[in-house]
Assembly symmetry: C2
Homo-oligomer: 344 residues x 2
DNA sequence: GATCAAGGTGTAAGCGCTTACATCGACAGG
DNA sequence: CCTGTCGATGTAAGCGCTTACACCTTGATC
């Protein structure tokens, strides 16, 4: 009836029918042999495996997916991969997902116009989806939470119907602010991109603001990049009321600020202190080395993958919210440290 | 006969059957409406679209893939995503693939033991595959070239059956070496990871060696990271026969070398010059700023995606090999530049 | 008014795989 | 020797979608 045998050298690949024919068994037996489900007699198994080898057979993913009703893939949506932050999270995500037998499909929203369609399309080809805060419109998030695959929001405000996972911001931001006060700094600027309510940078701002009150003023940047940090800092530091310290939304902006200070002939931290956030690789190599807050970027990704796995396999609550610890990393950029500590 | 209507609220999602039933048409009409293939009368189209909206229908990817015989996805295999290099290439790859309507499935080989199976699995779920040099065993590459989807090797020696795409190495490496000679440096070390024949670092070594001859000696590192560069440089610079200049395999190793020099109380470039390769973000912010060779990382990824698209759609030769231009970026780390240039 | 072309839809055959269910022997227990 | 079991295998019904092909209207053409 069919003409299965015709596809001998098709580019699409060998099918289970050809294997079955070659081994002289039914496709069911081939499937059972390969997946280890159901009993298969020794000699039969041999025949099948030989045929599989000779034909270099690998099951078609689309076929398996359709039959199994799952994709064995996870998606992740991030704004971009330019800086180390998202890359690190992605590393953690991919590593765990891979261990759990799931491929990772990525989607960068940077510069995309058709985000909605791209995200919907992605949601349709994965068993679970991780989404960074503010990369996807709120209503789409709701739509996904309601009718999409299991969803984990990374660094996003808590939201009904989805799990969230983020690093601590408010407390360490406050700690950072107090540390700067200990150094004797009295006027501050918070250098960050236009933030959305509840996102990481907003929370950092809240934490800083809570301690410093009116002594800190917000200065917006366009993006979280070295260049926009540089540009904004140039304006800030050349203008009137130069602050004692610039608290940056993240390390890249901080690196830009250090660069700007240098160009203006200002010493860091002598004339102006600078702090970052994330503790990316470059923070350690900057001169002066950057005081910053380390957050467990990889674990953010790994945790998201694990949470999704639990969600997919039915274990795990659908509305869990987890917050990871961070650590204040004090280096040179916030001011000289007298031996014995500041608060002595 | 079937019980399609039973799946009304299935987690897997709405199927085309439900849409068809609701709209009072056949599934063929629904499909035609959605894909725009074949004629559909105005009112019918309306009914279908309304049903689609009300049911929030999106076609199942597995079903579409199986029927279409394609995945609408590209794969990419890289060693890791820790440094900026692979991330940048990935950005370019994803951007172009996405524009061409293909999702990107990633696979990092870092720390993986079952690479072969993971790669084979990946190959089965994509229409095209990009692979970085040396991430996959040679025989597996051959196997993929022979019986897998279209393949593009990035930064890999030319190989029958697959396209390759890489940046120029030998010429700019020679240029870099000559530039260092112009500075008056006379003894050199090439600081790089254990390289494989024909890979980027090997080619850079060849280029440098071609100009400097025995004046340059190779020093191996374990990886292409700041830390291994740091460790190797520490050994090298503290030992006897300290070279005038350290030519590093890439920027990250170079950053580590600068760090090591600093720790040893050596001035860069006063006591020892250092150069990198790639021109990553941190190269510009290092002190001294790093002299390096810029290669078009994003274009490497973008080109791979375009090549694959051509291969998949039947256009494009199967054995094309492309080499992208690079640019020597001279900054402070290779020595002071007298106004007016060196060769005056 | 019969003939055609073309538009508009439905039918059904796959795409490659998994798996519930049926079948068939062979062997042990009564 | 008959029946009950269980192991080993085959049969066939999907999984959700695309699309070639068949069928039925219409309206135009002569």
């Amino acid at each position: 009836m069919d003409e299965r045998e015709a596809a001998a050298e098709a580019p699409g690949g060998v099918t289970i029918y050809e294997v079955a024919q070659r081994a002289g068994v039914s496709i069911a037996t081939v499937s059972r042999t390969l997946r280890g489900t159901g009993p298969v007699a020794g000699p039969t198994r041999e025949k099948v495996l030989r045929a599989v080898q000779e034909l270099r057979f690998t099951p078609s993913r689309a076929g398996v997916s359709l039959a199994e009703g799952r994709h064995a893939a996870n998606g992740i949506v991030f704004p971009n991969l330019s800086g180390p932050y998202f890359a690190e999270v992605l590393i953690g995500y991919e590593e765990v997902a891979s261990e759990l037998g799931r491929s990772v499909i990525i989607l960068s929203t940077k510069g995309r116009t058709a985000i909605r369609d791209l995200v919907r399309e992605l949601a349709r080809r994965v068993d679970g989806l991780a989404v960074f805060g503010s990369t996807v419109p709120a209503d789409l998030v709701d739509e996904l939470a309601a009718s999409g695959p299991p969803l984990v929001l990374i660094s996003h405000a808590e939201r009904a119907g989805a799990c969230t996972l983020r690093s601590e911001n408010i407390r360490p931001a406050a700690e950072l602010a107090r540390h700067l006060l200990d150094h004797g700094h009295r006027s501050f600027a918070f250098l960050g991109a236009p933030y959305a309510t509840g996102d990481d940078v907003d929370q950092r701002w809240q934490g800083v603001r809570g301690v410093l009150g009116d002594a800190v003023r917000p200065v917006l940047t366009d993006e979280y990049t070295v260049d926009s940090g540089h540009a904004a800092a140039l304006r800030l530091l050349a203008g009137p009321d130069r602050p004692d310290a610039v608290i940056c939304s993240d390390d890249e902006v901080a690196l830009g600020a250090i660069l700007a200070a240098e160009e203006l002939g200002l010493a860091v931290p002598g004339d102006v202190a600078v702090t970052g956030w994330d503790d990316i690789m470059a923070a350690r190599h900057a001169r002066p080395a950057l005081t910053t807050v380390r957050q467990p970027m990889r674990e953010l990704g790994a945790g998201a993958a694990r949470t999704l796995d639990a969600l997919i396999s039915g274990t795990g609550a659908a509305g869990a919210h987890r917050v990871l610890d961070t650590e204040l990393i004090v280096r040179g950029s916030c001011g000289p440290h007298p031996p014995g500590g500041l608060r002595k």
